[in-house]
């Protein structure tokens, strides 16, 4: 049996395509609605990362903020998060935001949502 964590999801239709491979320029973000929640796709110099689109502080939409390096900044109060692991980097945000596994291949960029999100 394959060790690929995405294989199970593929079989159970839990991998969702959120972008084409060359759709999003580096340094930019793009929001996708998946299973009732908004996922923010971030294209950094280190590759693609996906996080919840809502700030853990006051629930502003991070897609209205800005990606700087590997940090996404909230438009409302300037809190920031590391998109690689979701850790809050600056106040007023202190709680992390959720991150999502991505599968990136020639067919596009796919997000894998955990069970409780579906």
């Amino acid at each position: 049996m394959s060790e690929n964590p995405f294989e199970h999801n593929l079989l159970t239709h839990k991998l969702c395509k959120i972008a084409d491979h060359d759709e999003l320029p580096q340094g930019k973000t793009q929001v996708a609605a998946v299973n009732g929640r908004e996922v923010l796709l971030c294209h950094t110099a280190e590759g693609y990362f996906a996080v919840d689109n809502l700030c853990s502080h006051a629930a502003a939409r991070l897609c209205d903020g800005k990606l700087k390096g590997h940090r996404v900044l909230c438009p409302m109060h300037g809190g920031s998060f590391d998109v690689r692991d979701g850790v809050a980097l600056s106040r007023p945000a202190t709680a992390p935001i959720r991150t999502y596994q991505l599968l990136v291949n020639e067919q596009g960029i796919f997000v894998s949502l955990p069970d409780e999100a579906t």
Partner: protein, 466 residues
């Protein structure tokens, strides 16, 4: 052969060809400001050691220098869009710069007007639709005016006049954003003095940040920057021949400069240095070209009658011109190769060179008298019409981290490591108080003296304090 020595203080110079002699021999003349030379004897008294070791002196700097002087915060490309911010810390002071409208850059004290909390805890780039205090949630618009005071009913005494964010003076030059905490200070232009004129041929706003390294250094901020204000140490520290005949210029209170040649040197300038190295025999042009192999030159032969300097500059014009998408065919050897270093009081260094394109900043590391922060930027030419790319995040190096961890520094990394080793030894020596003063050369270290003379104009002598 020794030059005739003028007995008046500060008049003596190293023997052999001067920088001006070398530039006159180059195939392409440099821009006019590079050919200017301006020096005057400024005295020869020792500089008191306490300036580098005393917490009391550092407190005077914190109270009387840093809040009253223009200093650069960031580049304009750090804040291209409305809402982009950059937080800058200098000792206990902190300022936030913001692009509050498309054509407006403002600065504020990074402090809540309610109970004094820092609005942003970390230095560096940010983005926000406004400013919010993390303590009680007071918020301000990007122009500093009050947005929200939660429980406003309890603060009838907090008005726009009393509780807007405290503004800090802000101005720009050459793509750099400067601030001055003193609202009564003279305009930035006065401190820049000759710099706009001297950089007219080298527009700094048409440069992009290729690399930003920030390193903690084990020395007082002045000792650290003074190690970069003279090339006298090149022989002993860097095992290099080309510091002896460096040219030093002082353009008023705030601006000074050195020029030292790369790809040529004066063997005679080292005549009383220990040993025969670099002097007997002197390096051939071929050997000097080999020393420039650190630039990745493919040329390895100096044709008869030509110079290493010409060969290296010609190759760099071609190679860097192609890489940068810019025609460098008319750029002088001096601008292509040499280390041309301007200092802007109190702590900024600018290099108008193609192959040596640095910017430095030295400042206290919090309230530590014996450590400082060194920001090192490499600025690369931007081809005409090309917009500024997103600047890279700073790479932080702590005291014990080697610059060689930053591959992009290339040949510069081991040179900077040698400087750091000296700084550690110097700060330790200064702290031992074996001698009450630091002695400076009349010519080669005159820029350091000029810096201290200007510092004197900001710092009240202890005997004058109440």
């Amino acid at each position: 052969m020794t030059k005739t020595v003028d007995p008046s203080p500060g008049a003596a110079r190293a023997s052999g060809p001067s920088i001006a002699d070398t530039l006159a021999r180059d195939a392409i003349a440099p821009p006019a400001p590079i050919l200017q030379s301006q020096y005057e004897f400024l005295g020869d008294d020792d500089i008191p050691v306490e300036r580098y070791t005393s917490h009391a002196y550092m407190q005077r700097e914190m109270n009387e220098l840093w809040p009253r002087v223009w200093q650069w915060v960031c580049r304009e490309e750090h804040i291209p869009d409305v809402g982009d911010t950059y937080v800058y810390d200098i000792g206990r002071h902190s300022v936030v710069v913001v692009r509050s409208a498309q054509d407006t850059v403002q600065a504020f004290h990074n402090v809540c007007t309610h109970r004094g909390t820092r609005l942003f805890e970390r230095e560096g780039c940010g983005y926000s639709g406004g400013f919010t205090c993390p303590f009680h949630g007071w918020s301000w618009h990007l122009d500093g005016s009050i947005d929200t005071i939660p429980g406003r009913w309890d603060f009838p005494h907090a008005t726009e006049q009393t509780h807007a964010l405290r503004p800090v003076r802000c101005d720009t030059w050459g793509g750099f954003v400067f601030v001055n905490l003193d609202n009564a200070a003279a305009p930035l232009e006065r401190q820049l003095d000759v710099l706009p004129q001297h950089f007219a041929h080298f527009p700094l706003e048409r440069r992009r940040i290729k690399l930003h390294v920030q390193k903690r250094l084990p020395a007082n901020w002045k000792a650290a920057q003074e190690a970069f204000m003279e090339a006298y140490h090149n022989f002993a520290t860097h095992d290099a021949p080309n510091g002896g005949n460096t040219q030093y210029d002082i353009f008023g209170k705030f601006v000074s400069r050195f020029i030292h040649n790369i790809g040529s040197y004066s063997p005679q300038s080292l005549e009383d240095y220990p040993g025969d190295k670099w002097r007997r025999p002197a390096l051939t042009e071929q050997e000097q070209l080999q020393m420039l192999s650190v630039f990745g030159l493919s040329s390895d032969c100096v044709p008869e009658g030509d110079t290493a300097r010409n060969v290296a500059a010609a190759e760099l014009r071609r190679r860097l011109g192609e890489a940068l998408g810019t025609d460098l065919s008319g750029v002088s050897e001096c601008m292509m190769l040499d280390s041309i270093e301007y200092h802007l009081f109190p702590n900024m260094f600018l290099f108008p060179g193609v192959n040596v394109p640095m910017v430095y900043r030295f400042r206290p590391d919090g309230d530590r008298v014996d450590h400082c922060l060194f920001d090192l930027l490499l600025l690369e030419m931007l081809p005409e019409g090309t917009p500024h790319p997103v600047p890279p995040e700073p790479v932080f190096l702590d005291v014990d981290d080697s610059y060689t961890q930053v591959q992009a520094l290339g040949w510069l990394a081991p040179v900077y490591d040698q400087d750091t080793d000296n700084l550690m030894l110097q700060q330790k020596g200064l702290s031992s108080a074996a001698k009450s003063g630091v002695t400076l050369g009349n010519y080669q270290e005159a820029r350091i003296r000029r810096m201290h003379m200007t510092l004197n104009e900001y710092i009240t002598p202890p005997e004058s304090q109440p």
